[in-house]
Amino acid sequence: MKVTFPHLGTMHIFCKAIAEASGIPYIVPPETSRKTLTLGVQHSNECICLPFKIILGNFIEALRMGADTIVMVGSGPPCRLGLYDLVQKVILEDMGLHYRWLTIPPRLTWQALWKNYEETKELKKELSWKNILLFPYGLRLGWKKMMACETLEKLAMRIRPREIQKGETQRRLKKALSMVDEAKTLRTLDQALERGKRLLQGTEQDVSRVPFKIAMVGELYTVMDPHINRGVEQKLGELGAEVTRSSWFSTHILRSLRRNKADQASERVRFFEASRAYLGYDVGAECNVSIGEAIVRAQEGFDGVVHLMPFACMPETTASGILTRVGKDWNIPILTLILDEQEIEGRIQTLLEAFVEMLQWKRKAG
């Protein structure tokens, strides 16, 4: 058995940790590249969205490298994303690739548990007692690594707009994340996180700068994965904006575990409530949260909102229409970026530069 998982932000770091600590063989798909995208595009319906194509590409590459078990998060309609696992299964089978599929249920329901039980029945035979005994430790290590990655990423978001040497924060973040990745035990992980934090804090900064505050909202894959959004978070930071986002792995996992008491989950409830002024209905996926977050950020005094969505994404297309109204009503500039497979990095750079410059003009005009 060799498990694999898609690339999505820093997901591979903690998925790898879970597998490694429990002694389960794994394959990390090669970093998302042009080749990944080409494979994904070639084997999927033309009209499907960009995240689907990239994740499919990740799976094809991993399976060709010898992986035989795919672990994937499922969610459910109305967004197509919720049916990703089902459609991807069909495509991969049609391609003649052999593998087993393990869906991590988005909500802990009896139905999901039963499906999971069915899927894991075969797999369990291949797992040794050692694997099973070590699994809780693996989960704990994985969870802590995920939190460590998020801590580092959030720290980098604060430092980036203040860095003197453009790009230095990003270089240090990469190094810090790989230190977290390399930690094998809970104890060494704590040390790695501390070293990573120090490394990031060591970036030469101009603390007198007052960066713009920009919130990134939108479809979660597009917001969370720099390969899908062409590094919007980094670009905005390097243009002098302190970026905030509410989409993190921990947010979505806690949400699906219905741990609503956690701060992040209650934040989402707040966003959802705020969207009611414009939507009397849950459109699904992140739509309501995108709108609600833009409103809440405007109330909190943010300078702008960048809204990310894949081309032809239904919930976010709905959101983008409403966001133009929100921008006007709350007097907050909102930039919607639509991402697709084309090489539009230059265009994104142009739009982000113009956006930040617009904020500068606005600030100067008082």
């Binding site: 590249s33 084309q342 539009i344 113009a354 410059e357 617009m358």
Partner: protein, 324 residues
Amino acid sequence: MSRYKNIMGNFLGIDVGSITTKMVVIDESHKLLAGLYLRNNGRPLETIQQGLAILASRLGDDQAIDGVATTGSARHLAAYLVGADLIKNEITAHSVAVIDLFPKTKTIFEIGGQDSKVILLREGVVVDFAMNTVCAAGTGSFLDQQAARLGISIEEFGRLALEAKHPVRVAGRCTVFAETDMIHKQQIGHSVEDIIGGLCDSLVKNYLNNVCRGKELLPPYVFQGGVAANQGIRKALERELETPMLIPEHFGLMGALGAAKLVKRAKPGRSRFKGFGLSKRSCTTRGFECNECGNQCEVVELLVDEQVVACWGDLCERYRRSYP
């Protein structure tokens, strides 16, 4: 020509778009000394060199340039080549040029070769903008293509649109659909004028519905970019908005003009401009695919006189450098 030699403070703005390259030289008082508009023919480097040669012949080889700014989608390429002091996105460059010229403007419509933008200004400040992202429907290159298909020049195209008696309906959402529709109309016997007129109407509707969606469009309107030369599009815009468009005298050069004004404001201490002599040197690019990691970046090297002067395109910045 020698008239300008001793006047301090001449600034060059270069706007390298997808289809055309625009250059202007202004003096300290923002007076336009020279301006040119060239087609790239897919070779921006050669076009920039050609542009520099034309400027040199108009202004004199030894014309001093105190600052250079580049803008447009190939602004980085242009900057590496000529040695720019400022690299500015085209949205800001266009806004600056318009604000100086028509300070009361509230809306700028800019339609170029591949881009269409709308910029909202209030009291001389940009407050909102939008640009087409994934689709180039309704931009200059599509009009060019249709003119070529009909065997008429793009200049004639605009004139013919005005002669339309009953403009036909053409799907404007996507250029592929639009072309299918146009061919259908042609095959059932509609006149070329009516088809072109219909195309202009539908492109304008598409632009207003997509790029300008939800934006508060208030007059005075300024219409610029290469497509502003097209009478048909201009009239269709005026009809839709029921207001006349202000068209700047140098409507095609506004990006370059804005860039020149911006670099004049920035006042670089000593310009990095490599001089008009660049037009006589050999400038080429060379690309290779890096195999160090899975991303397989397409790395580009810029060579001047067989020497690598800049390198980019690599995600990891392994090769990236620029020699002054």
